[in-house]
């Protein structure tokens, strides 16, 4: 009987990263900008997407992947707007993984402009999984409180943009907008921050402009 030490040095999420990179490369080649949306349950992910879909659909073609533990409800809400939506029911899993997106991949039309992925409502686990997105967007709703960026650092450090949602509630709640922005920028100085309300339809045009400028950059790179 002989004992032997074996040096491995492999990332445990290496296989997810590999699948994600393949997905990203294929979508980029088609000129599709992919956006992964993270946020707590009830942060307003679907409402934000409904609003974005209304604004983009006259000029752009978009698709939405909905991740939920149970039900097709979110996909139905998006389909009601006349947008293609695919529901991933994780059956208990608290996050989406690249291989789940990979399964939907053959159904995604090649002529899309935007692919939105609404992750499972959770500020922790989804942050560890690259899904092949170009932009990771984390939502923070006003009722959740302005102290969340430092409490959930991984979601905020791995994101490209922060969308503060439900800003119409600012006058009613002790949410310090300046403090939330400051804390978020301390843990991730590169974050683009947008303050929005889907209900009052404010701030979303600015967010869409950010997505459009990234779509433009992606297509310039392809040209």
């Amino acid at each position: 009987m002989k004992k032997k030490e074996v040096l491995v040095l492999e990332e445990l999420l290496g296989s997810n990263k590999k699948i994600a990179s393949e997905i990203r490369e294929k979508l980029e080649k088609k000129g599709i900008l992919t956006i992964n949306i993270l946020g707590s349950p009830g942060a307003g992910k679907t409402s934000l997407l409904e609003n974005i879909a209304e604004k983009l659909k006259p000029d752009y073609k978009l698709g939405v992947i909905e991740g939920d533990i149970e039900t097709e409800r979110d996909a139905e809400r998006i389909r009601a707007k006349g947008i293609s939506a695919w529901q991933i029911i994780t059956g208990g899993a608290c996050h989406l993984e690249a291989k789940m997106v990979g399964k939907i991949f053959p159904d995604i039309p090649a002529d899309l402009d935007f692919l939105f992925i609404e992750n499972v409502g959770n500020l922790v686990c989804p942050a560890s999984y690259d899904l092949g997105e170009n932009i990771r967007c984390v939502l923070l709703s006003v009722p959740e409180g302005d102290d969340k960026p430092k409490k959930y650092p991984k979601a905020f450090t791995t994101s490209d943009c922060l969308v503060i949602t439900k800003s119409d509630l600012l006058p009613a709640l002790p949410f310090n907008l300046e403090n939330a922005q400051k804390e978020a920028l301390q843990i991730n100085p590169k974050l683009e921050i947008f303050t929005t309300s889907a209900l009052k339809d404010s701030g979303i045009t600015e967010l869409i402009d950010y997505f459009l400028s990234n779509l433009h950059k992606l297509r310039q790179k392809n040209a």
Binding site: M1, K2, K3, K4, E5, V6, L7, V8, L9, E10, E11, L12, L13, G14, S15, N16, A93, C94, H95, E97, V124, C125, A127, S128, Y129, K150, P153, K154, T157, Q186, I187, N188, P189, K190
Partner: protein
């Protein structure tokens, strides 16, 4: 709470390595866990001990090394270990920082019986 899914990926690598090295069993497993890896070491250990039953690593011991967040300032070159996740250089206030370690979730090495 995605530790079980992480452990499933870990066992895929473990089984592959054991086969490659023609190991009879795995005695120990050493991981490097960054403070910003997004996992809870205690949950990972529990998941590992449940998952290992009836595998080649059934009698193995899991060892985890916690890796602090270390950054280098791209402006002044200062290297600091951060415990507050504030990505601003303490010396020169620059926000151009490079993360050197602390985000990894790595299978460093295993000990096998051949």
């Amino acid at each position: 709470m995605h530790e079980l899914s992480i452990v499933a990926s870990l066992f895929e690598i473990l089984e592959e390595k054991a086969k490659e090295k023609k190991a009879k069993k795995i005695i120990s497993v050493k991981l490097k866990v960054g403070v910003l890896s997004g996992i809870v070491p205690e949950f990972l250990e529990t998941a590992f001990n449940i998952y290992k039953k009836d595998t080649i690593a059934a009698e193995s011991k899991l060892e985890m090394e916690k890796v602090p967040l270390k950054i280098r300032c791209q402006q002044c070159g200062t290297e600091i270990v951060k415990d507050d996740f504030v990505f601003i250089c303490e010396k020169c206030d620059s926000r151009e920082l490079k993360t050197l370690s602390g985000t990894e979730l790595l299978l460093e090495k295993i000990e096998v019986e051949v």
